[in-house]
């Protein structure tokens, strides 16, 4: 397992390197002088000259990349044009909202997706199964922002039960009760993703149910529920674990839409607003952070895979 972890970590490096090159190149793909792009329209000639020197713009492009990468390694992602603050600060400000939103969404996905998927599989072909899998496919066909707007319309505007927008920090007045601001956003984000998990849990369980070892388990006289959970679900979990990783990673980018709908001060809305404000240093920084996060999650998924399936780590 240890050797496998090291091996898997090493394969991360080239991908990370290539991704960083792409993110670096992004600024150079935008029409116009990169320095002017990075500093925005209000920059003075002195500022432009200073940043040009810092970025080494008169040097060859790979030297520029080296400068940039060196800064990134030291935690310097540049300065936001709009906020006039370091990009790392701006991202850190949005982190709490986005992390809490993602966690709450994952809780919904696990609580809704897994049991429904398991029940659908054990009732394969019955009406519960048909409603669950049909409903899941329907849920996956709903645009998240549409669902979000409707939830606002029903629960915030008409019924007045929940707030429709914003999120005060849980460290402010109100404490954990402020999480109610994330209730509708997390449900919105969970809907299509739970649907994917339901269908995946169901399909994996049906695959495992057909395997010979399940017949062996039944031949031991075990209760059907025990067979379903201990022998079928546990084995299906190997495939489901991978899906959880993909889903969590997908949440990062899907949160862009949800945070915009609910005006949440998270990283997702920061991306959209930075794009609309042409605040390129922030876009570059956020993309880099998200890609790193995405790769790390995939790494964790692979390790979970090896841990869940004893056959993997020994290969």
């Amino acid at each position: 397992m240890f050797a496998y972890t090291i091996k898997r970590l090493l394969t991360l490096i080239p991908t990370l390197f290539a991704a960083s090159v792409l993110v670096f190149a992004f600024i150079h793909l935008i029409p116009g002088d990169p320095v002017a792009v990075l500093l925005g329209d209000t920059a003075t000639p002195e500022e432009i000259a200073a940043l040009s020197a810092e970025m080494g713009l008169d040097e060859p492009i790979y030297i520029q990349y080296a400068y940039w990468l060196g800064n990134v390694m030291q935690g310097d992602l540049g300065r936001s044009i709009f906020f006039q603050e370091p990009v790392t600060r701006v991202i850190a400000d949005g982190a709490e909202t986005s992390i809490l939103l993602a966690l709450m969404t994952m809780v919904w996905i696990v609580v809704l997706g897994v049991p429904i998927g398991v029940i659908a599989a054990t009732r394969h072909g019955g009406w519960i199964d048909q409603i669950a899998s049909g409903g899941a496919m329907f849920a996956a066909s709903i645009p998240t922002f549409w669902l979000g707007l409707y939830l606002i319309l029903i629960f915030a505007v008409t019924l007045g039960w929940l707030p429709s927008s914003g999120f005060p920090s849980v460290f402010d007045d109100g404490g954990l009760a402020n999480l109610r601001y994330l209730l509708l956003p997390s449900l919105t984000l969970a809907a299509p993703n739970s649907a994917l998990i339901i269908r995946l849990v169901r399909a994996s369980m049906l695959d495992v149910q057909r395997e010979d070892h399940v017949r062996t388990a039944r031949a031991k006289g075990l209760h059907p529920a025990k067979v379903a959970l201990k022998h079928v679900f546990r084995n299906a979990l190997v495939a489901v674990a991978a899906a959880f990783g993909f889903t969590f990673a997908a949440l990062i980018s899907e949160a862009v839409v949800t945070e915009t709908v609910f005006s949440l001060p998270g990283i997702g809305r920061l991306v959209v607003e930075s794009i609309l404000r042409r605040d390129y240093p922030v876009i570059q920084g956020v993309v880099l952070v998200i890609v790193c996060l995405y790769l790390v999650i995939n790494l964790i998924v692979d390790l979970a895979y090896a841990w869940l399936d004893p056959r993997v780590s020994l290969k």
């Binding site: 080239p14 991908t15 290539a18 991704a19 792409l22 992004f26 793909l29 935008i30 049909g134 899941a136 496919m137 329907f138 996956a140 066909s141 709903i142 645009p143 998240t144 922002f145 549409w146 707007l149 409707y150 606002i152 319309l153 505007v157 649907a195 994917l196 269908r199 990673a249 997908a250 990062i252 980018s253 899907e254 862009v256 839409v257 915009t260 991306v271 959209v272 794009i275 609309l276 876009i283 993309v287 998200i290 890609v291 995405y294 790769l295």
Partner: protein, 284 residues
């Protein structure tokens, strides 16, 4: 023709929901073709007197904040939906098929190309689309291109896996032995076996593309705002949601029905294809 009917019957037998999906897609197709004849209103015509009218006998789906007829805009929006969906399917299938097949067939090239695909897949789908739209202008072509690019990587992965499975089959060896060149082996012997899984993949990409395009429109980074697409209609409706919920309901329902139908059809088709490729398809 009878053969086509027999296949259709085989795929959809006992799948009432999927048949309803086919029915809905036919309705959308009719709307696409006969749009100008289906509504007396021009989707772009502004009528200041009739701003935000609720659905009534004259305007079945009501009007928006410029007094434009929502039904007319919905019908013309179907054209955009079809264009975006087909465009994204063509871009991603052509690109993905080439990359995937060549990578599986030429091992050395594959090492390089599939690493590139891996890196591209390190960018979450919507984020990649957003970043690309930052660099590009808002236009129909660019939206199609960006969504197509996003699904090119997935398609490439899938085609890579499927081609690998076929590469060592006897019929491929036989073709090589009889002197078939690489292009002939790839496109005359391997590709025809992959057509039906590709078709299934196409239905799912079509469905995803609708959701992606709507999300981009909503964020103000998709089609130009003056184009009547379902996503743009929803984006504009946001401000008026509390006063004019029909602006949210109708275009949203159209997107959901279309995506749901496509997914149902894709699901039915997937069950009908060669079981070896079933798990390769990335669908709902």
């Amino acid at each position: 023709m009878t053969a086509a009917l027999a296949t259709f019957n085989q795929v959809f037998r006992g799948r009432r929901l999927a048949l309803l999906g086919v029915g809905w897609l036919i309705i959308v197709a009719i709307a696409v073709v006969f749009a100008p004849w289906l509504t007396p209103y021009d989707p772009l015509e502004i009528d200041p007197v009739a701003r935000l009218t609720a659905p009534n006998a004259e305007h079945w789906f009501g009007t928006d904040h410029f007094g434009r007829d929502t039904l007319a805009r919905c019908i013309y929006g179907a054209r955009m939906a079809l264009l975006i969906g087909l465009g994204a399917v063509v871009v991603s299938l052509v690109g993905g098929t080439l990359i995937g097949m060549l990578s599986a067939y030429f091992t050395r090239l594959g090492h390089v190309l599939m690493r590139v695909v891996d890196v591209a897949m390190a960018f979450p789908a919507l984020l990649l689309a957003l970043v690309l739209m930052t660099i590009l202008d808002r236009s129909v072509t660019n939206t199609i291109f960006v969504i197509g690019i996003v699904y090119t990587t997935t398609t490439a992965r899938i085609l890579f896996g499927m081609t690998l499975k076929l590469k060592n089959e006897v019929f491929v060896d036989a073709a090589v032995v009889t002197g078939a060149g690489h292009p002939s082996v790839l496109f005359k012997h391997i590709l025809p076996n992959l057509i039906s899984p590709l078709l299934v993949q196409a239905t799912f990409i079509f469905a995803f593309a609708q959701l992606q395009a709507a999300a981009l429109d909503f964020l103000g980074l998709g089609l130009p705002p003056e184009i009547p697409s379902w996503g743009n209609m929803l984006a504009e409706s946001r401000v008026y949601v509390t006063r004019a919920s029909w602006l949210l309901m109708f275009p949203g329902a159209l997107i959901i029905l279309t995506v749901f139908s496509m997914n149902l059809v894709g699901d039915a088709l997937r069950d009908a294809i060669d079981p070896r490729f079933k798990d390769d398809i990335a669908g709902v």
